[in-house]
Symmetry: C2
């Protein structure tokens, strides 16, 4: 099945030159006489030569590839970051190599090790479950860049967004529209982002004279199902509310379905805000107000930054801001129809 692939030696013989000449002609490393160059090219063509990348890397020390390790390569949250990276690298000499860490230390460690042992020229982490110290250790073996964490000692290579402010803005948006009884469906306890968003929510409430009501705080796992269940329970409960701030878009979708099933309209009865602005969120019915993480731009910037570091230029990583995108899922509280609060 696998044809033994042709090597540079055979090309050299075919072209009647030495292997170094072939190498030079191929890579433009040095000038080669016109006729020999043509002979080499012809031989290359005739034999269908494809250089063995491994061998090349072994000698040159550069693999022309950048490893990208995401917590989960297929999560919609990382989708646009990955897309941004892909596009930024598309017409460069570097190839991205993607892999998942599956939110699991052991798998992440292993993935990092294989990536390093495959000699990627740089490593980009989209989220990480490793400790700061471990990451610093990794950074000694390979140029490391991380998104979603601010690793002390590696600040120049880290890009994190202010989740607190994003959540603060989202909550304030609801407060400005008259909401005071605002549910928050938070993400998993263990995750820093979930924690930051919760604090942003609480701070916004307090800054506006609202005491956070623990009965309006429920926990999900960043997926639709748990939010659906939590919201259903909330609706069936006794505590009135007029708005829901979900810890991410997927949970907002789950909440929205629960509302729908209970005959509650969005935004007429309950306003709903998500977080992330995933691809597709603009097309929910109604389109969801959410906090946009500029993930595509981040992916691009990250890749561009990696490239420039690889070329020896030290460009600083740009700053990115979270933005509340107001769409149709949030409305002013109608005094006459306070929705759930009035039942």
């Amino acid at each position: 099945m696998r044809k033994r692939s042709v090597t540079i030696n055979e090309v050299a013989r075919e072209a009647g030159v030495s292997i170094s000449t072939v190498s030079r002609a191929m890579n433009g490393t040095a000038f080669v006489a016109e006729d020999k160059r043509r002979a080499v090219e012809a031989a290359l063509e005739r034999l269908g030569f494809q250089p063995n990348h491994l061998a090349r890397t072994l000698t040159s020390g550069r693999s022309m590839s950048v490893g990208v390790l995401a917590e989960d390569i297929v999560s919609p949250y990382y989708a646009d970051v990955i897309r941004g990276i892909e596009h930024a690298l598309l017409d460069t000499a570097y190839q991205p190599v993607f892999n998942s860490g599956h939110w699991t230390r052991a798998y992440e460690r292993r993935a990092i090790d294989t990536l390093i042992s495959r000699r990627v020229d740089a490593l980009v982490l989209l989220g990480s479950t490793l400790s700061d110290a471990e990451l610093r250790e990794v950074a000694e073996q390979v140029p490391l860049f991380v998104f979603g964490r601010l690793v002390p000692g590696l600040e120049d290579h880290c890009l994190a967004l202010d989740q607190f402010r994003g959540a603060y803005g989202a909550t304030r948006h609801l407060i400005e529209r008259g909401h005071r009884d605002i549910v928050h469906i938070r993400g998993p306890e263990a995750q820093q982002d979930a924690e930051d968003r919760l604090r942003g929510y609480q701070a916004a409430l307090r800054d506006n004279g609202v005491t956070p009501d623990p009965r309006l705080l429920v926990t999900g796992d960043f997926l639709e199902q748990t939010a659906y269940q939590a919201t259903t329970r909330l609706i069936e409960g006794l505590v009135p509310f007029t708005a829901i701030f979900a810890g991410n878009d997927q949970m907002a979708v789950g909440a929205r379905l629960a509302l729908y099933r209970k005959g509650l309209r969005v935004p007429d009865d309950v306003s709903l805000v998500g977080f992330d602005d995933l691809p597709g969120t603009a097309f929910t019915s109604p389109p969801l107000t959410t906090v946009q993480q500029p993930t595509y731009a981040i992916g691009q910037a990250l890749a561009a930054h990696v490239l420039s570091r690889l070329e020896g230029v030290a460009s600083p990583l740009p700053q990115f801001e979270l933005r509340v995108i107001v769409r149709d899922s949030t409305a002013r509280v109608l005094r006459g129809f306070p929705g759930v609060a009035a039942r």
Copy 2:
């Protein structure tokens, strides 16, 4: 930044043995005296040795990796296939390496070439824009497996689903519920899947005595936006309809938003069917009736098949069926309220 990594030579020196002994002790390739083995292990540990995978592959010829090239690695359609592959490979000695072809010949060719030149032990294509002949050529260089295409000559390594039958079933589902004026939003002309689904739709209509109405056929690009626009135009047009069969879930979501904006209820006024059953589709409001592609299982099966071929065992690829998943977006046509048809 990059510490020169320790090589097998240093380990050998440290352990006071030859490099061959280190190699053997590490890989269990041959018996090594107990004391030397321990010395090697200690040295390995002390130096934090990590074998250079490239060098290893160069000599052994096996990279212990399988390349996975998807048209688009971040498309939700491939998400579950990829997830299935990842999970199936997770605790094996093989590592998947993912990459995108971007629906573009040139990029796909290049990605395939780099994957081959990195000596992946097998190559899995999730969709492909290359010709059958080109794929056969690739198959001569590396064990090739493809999902979504039936390549003549490579049938044993191909896995494709019967899109025609899926679309047929979806359309019949609507017909059985009394619908006759059924819109179809087809995917791009160039794509075989879109073509097959269209034919399934038309066949189901004809088999049930309905002549396909060209005015009810519109074209999208498998994304939300175009379906949204097409549906809006349709609603504003003069041709009555009671149901929409979208070429995929994303277009169904677009259509659903258009209906929502026009005040049309799903399924009360218009029934809606999608295709794919993407992750998340079960949580749209209302949950979408759709045709399920068992993508996760396919990913797993594909990976398992690749593994067994790599081990020299010839297991046949299992067959998979498309299934109509009936959820809440489709209902019987109410004679009294034929929805749009009655305006």
